[in-house]
Symmetry: C2
Subunit: 195 residues, 2 copies
DNA sequence: CAAGTAGTTGGATTGCGTCTAACAATACGC
DNA sequence: GCGTATTGTTAGACGCAATCCAACTACTTG
């Protein structure tokens, strides 16, 4: 029996091995100066293997959060026309529940050292847009006007990403990310969900 | 005397020539299937020249709006600690003032035909993040809490980009983009600027 | 006509991301 | 034990975006 349970060749490497190698190099040389080949060389695998584990270089940082965001988007799509503000906020809280220190958290805390400023703006923007779209769709499905839906979507998505950033930057200083997000979402109550 | 007034070799092409060639091809073949080489070939210039006019392929679509966003960001940075909600909204209104039909407007209207869905999410996300950051910085400079600033930033930025999208999609159906944005920003009044 | 200036061009380079066909290591039925 | 299916690794080639540079070209001005 294989360690993973089923047949076939056992994995020679792991996401964690690659992620560690990548993070080391990002800290040493910076993100841009580190090529995928560099990462795989340090991890002792071939370049091809990298893309068996990650879909892109930035995916090393974001795969954890992306997975949770993906779930949230699916949940939001499942809401249908019954979407209420509380239902949406409930789903968003799950995104950050029990979030653990990540490559992303490391990157957010050492953004300057990694030369990540631009890359992070780009990447957070993408996630912001994705989440924002999903929330906005849910709002529209609930009968809310297009532009109001867009604004609600962006506000909610920003609350999530801001909470992640604050949590990552301040370590355990401000409590769990869930608490941070709850506080953050509270601010949006000023923006009524229904027209 | 040269057409531009000064010395040197006159331009053989123009942004407009290239943008037109690009938009044609995007409509015919889709965005992804169109390479920069394709564009320059149709425009009758060398591939190198493309990057004398645009910084990237997507810049063909976004350069108009990016220029205005760039101005807005500079204005926002100039606000200092005196930033008020009205001052910020005044700056944002300038972004869309007298906006004219663009390659971007064309792309937003024909997103499906151009196969632009993913690319547009990516690109709008980037602009959303940029504008959002700038507004959030202004808010923080005015003494507003970090997370509230992020949410305000995202809401304002989303209002701008949503207005652009609505304007582009609906043609002149809903009035000038400035009017659309004014309506859109009105919704944010529910989110008080000051803590 | 000489010098300066602005623009164009080909070509080389780097790196990301995709793809495929070959190869290696394991489990399982026999 | 021996084949076979399965799963994973790998080398290599590919297309493309984007950067850089040195050579060249077309204009202006003195």
């Amino acid at each position: 029996m294989n360690s993973t349970g089923r047949a076939g060749r056992p994995k020679a490497s792991s996401r964690e091995t690659l992620a560690e190698a990548a993070c080391e190099l990002f800290l040493e040389q910076g993100y841009d100066a580190t090529s995928v080949a560099d990462i795989t060389q340090r991890a002792g695998v071939s370049r091809s293997s990298f893309f068996n584990y990650f879909t892109s270089k930035s995916d090393v940082l974001w795969s954890g959060v992306d997975e949770r965001i993906g779930e949230a988007i699916r949940s939001l799509e499942g809401l249908g026309r019954t979407a209420s503000g509380d239902a949406v906020r409930g789903i968003l809280l799950v995104v950050v529940r029990d979030l653990e220190p990540d490559p992303l958290a490391l990157a957010l805390r050492n953004a300057a050292a990694m030369g990540l400023q631009d890359e992070l703006v780009r990447d957070t923007g993408l996630r912001l847009a994705r989440l924002s779209d999903a929330v906005a769709s849910a709002a529209r499905a609930a009968g809310i006007d297009v532009m109001r839906a867009d604004i609600l979507g962006a506000a909610h998505a920003a609350a999530v990403l801001s909470a992640v950033r604050v949590w990552a930057e301040q370590g355990a200083g401000r409590g769990t990310p869930e608490v941070v997000l709850r506080e953050s979402l509270g601010l949006i109550h000023d923006l009524p969900w229904s027209a």
